[in-house]
């Protein structure tokens, strides 16, 4: 069953067609990788899926419901979360506070004025458990801006996990990571695979081919092929458009 479906999505910036008649179907529980050259429109697709940018035309359905016109926070409440290609955290809060905010957003109303947020065990414990999981527990009390790029990337994943989202949109989680950190991220994603439906955008082909159940290839805003890793590897058109230039 497909959890996410786009039909005929279009988005232009001036003369640039960043998304061009894009039709995509993501199956429940799969890890669906989207690859494509720089500027192919991958991030633009993510922003439309999570609602920060509106498509010029086309529809987006999530679990059978038309969400094309829904605001980002409402989509998040339905179970869609994203991580950002360019790290997007709350720099002047501690690592723990960042994750705790994501946990609290998920656990009931945030219109609570009396109790100190830091003193609520259910939120704190869950946030600490998530930091544990991405290997950042000992950094909990440090201000976020003081962490390294690699640590920020892992925080992004912890926040995505905090939302318990069914659908995680991950925009290049390995961008700028060293080999060791990349390996840790692959381990983490392997662990997450199967528990969440994941749309993974990634330039690291080894990681993509190791992790993905299916791969879609995006070129000039249009999907030119979708299939399992083996068929994508064998696809001549893909090779010409994209994989060829890497080799």
């Amino acid at each position: 069953m497909s959890i996410l479906e786009t039909k005929g999505l279009m988005k232009s910036f001036g003369g640039i067609r960043a998304t061009d008649d894009l039709t995509l179907s993501v199956e429940q529980g799969e890890l669906h990788a989207i690859i494509g050259p720089n500027g192919a429109g991958k991030t633009t697709l993510i922003t439309q899926l999570c609602g920060t940018q509106m498509p010029d035309a086309g529809t987006i359905h999530f679990k059978g419901r038309d969400i094309t016109a829904l605001a980002p926070d409402k989509r998040a409440r339905l179970g869609i979360t994203r991580s950002f290609q360019i790290t997007s955290l709350i720099p002047d809060m501690t690592v723990l506070e960042n994750i705790a905010l994501a946990v609290q957003a998920r656990e009931g109303s945030s219109y609570r004025f009396i109790r100190a947020a830091a003193g609520i065990p259910a939120i704190r414990d869950r946030a600490m458990a998530l930091l544990e999981r991405v290997g950042l527990a000992e950094k909990a009390e440090i201000e976020t801006r003081a962490l390294s790029h690699g640590e920020h990337r892992h925080m992004e994943i912890a926040i995505a996990l905090a939302s318990r989202a069914e659908l995680m949109l991950l925009d290049e989680p390995m961008a700028g990571l060293g080999p060791e950190e990349s390996a840790r991220m692959v381990d983490l994603l392997t662990e997450l695979k199967g528990q969440h439906t994941i749309v993974l955008i990634e330039h690291d082909m080894d990681a993509v081919f190791a992790l993905a159940d299916r791969i879609s290839v995006l070129v000039y805003g249009h999907i030119i092929a979708t299939g399992d890793p083996a068929s994508i590897r064998a696809n001549k058109e893909v090779e010409a458009a994209y994989l060829g230039e890497e080799a």
């Binding site: 998040a76 955290l89 905010l101 945030s110 947020a117």
Partner: protein, 319 residues
């Protein structure tokens, strides 16, 4: 205990102890100064909720202080000269005037905030200032309440068990109100609501992506802050027994902003330190020279530029 907490407690202790000494030694002038400082500190604390913790640079906060003062002055005026009896607004009762001040300001914050908060950055600053100037010009144009000349408050608010004509009692009320205001802001900013407000200041897009709508939280904070400033205005009206549009001028809003930033935005005690430093410096410098505005301005700019986080920046300790 962090050094900031200690600094705040010391400042609050001094503010509790000195004014009664001034009073019993017949130093009416210094007691007056302390009362004015305390009332403006309440306004600064309320501004800090949105400016410091919310990152919303509102340049119209004096309008709330002025509206709060008029909510004392106008009922007192009608009580003396007639009119508005049918609305129950011809009264000197503080139990009517003070809630009125807060409700009027909350409503004004709700209506203008709903519009202002759709804008960002410089536009937000300009539009908050524009709304405040609207109130300013409205008060200038209403002849019945003195227009440009202002309105004398002949009778102070009557409160059970309190006599606000007695300067030390008025100070006591202002001081307790300041403590309560500080505790409320502290509580709110540490709550789950406060986490969203602070998070949206740091990165609104991320907060929205977590499923929280920053607009709603900001508007709520804006209304709370407005109501608190209205309360401060009601006290200020009782203190000065005179209100004029000048109290709502944009330069007054600027002074409140300066107090917050000078003392240390997004800290519990910062606005109080800022208000104290501002009022005391203004007083001292104006004794030395009539050209005190220039050195005063330069000093303020120096503090803001060279102490990270205002005066509270001096007390940067372990959190």
């Amino acid at each position: 205990m962090s050094t900031r907490t200690i600094a705040t407690l010391v400042a609050m202790a001094l503010l509790a102890v000195l004014p009664p000494i001034f009073f019993y030694t017949g130093n009416a002038f210094w007691l007056d100064l302390a009362t004015r400082l305390t009332i403006l500190a309440i306004a600064a604390v309320s501004l800090n909720l949105i400016l410091g913790y919310g990152g919303l640079v509102s340049f119209g906060h004096a309008a709330y202080v002025g509206l709060g003062a008029y909510a004392v002055g106008i009922p007192a005026y009608h009580w003396l000269y007639g009119g508005l009896e049918s609305l129950g607004l011809a009264t000197t009762s503080g139990l009517v005037q003070i809630p009125l001040a807060m409700v009027v300001c909350a409503l004004f914050a709700l209506v203008t905030g709903a519009i202002c908060l759709r804008t960002k950055g410089v536009y937000f600053i300009m539009i908050t200032m524009a709304f405040a100037q609207m109130v300013y010009y409205a008060s200038v144009s209403i002849e019945e309440y003195g227009g440009d000349d202002g309105l004398v408050i002949d009778t102070r608010s009557e409160l059970p068990g309190l006599n606000l004509d007695n300067p030390i009692q008025l100070f006591g009320l202002a001081y307790l109100s300041l403590v309560v205001a500080m505790l409320i802001v502290r509580m709110i900013t540490r709550s789950r609501f406060g986490m969203v407000l602070r998070g949206a200041k740091g990165n609104a897009e991320r907060v929205q992506m977590m499923g929280l709508n920053p607009y709603a939280y900001r508007l709520t904070a804006y209304v709370i802050s407005g109501a608190m400033a209205g309360y401060a205005g009601a006290l200020l009206g009782n203190f000065t027994t005179f209100i004029s549009p000048e109290m709502m001028d944009w330069t007054r809003s600027g002074e409140l902003m300066f107090m917050v930033i000078l003392g240390g935005a997004s800290t519990t005690g910062g606005p109080v330190l800022g208000a104290a430093a501002f009022i005391i410096l203004e007083e001292v410098l104006s004794h030395f020279t009539i050209y005190w505005h220039l050195p005063f301005g330069l000093l303020l700019i120096a503090v803001v530029l060279f102490t990270r986080g205002g005066l509270m920046g001096f007390f940067r300790g372990r959190k």
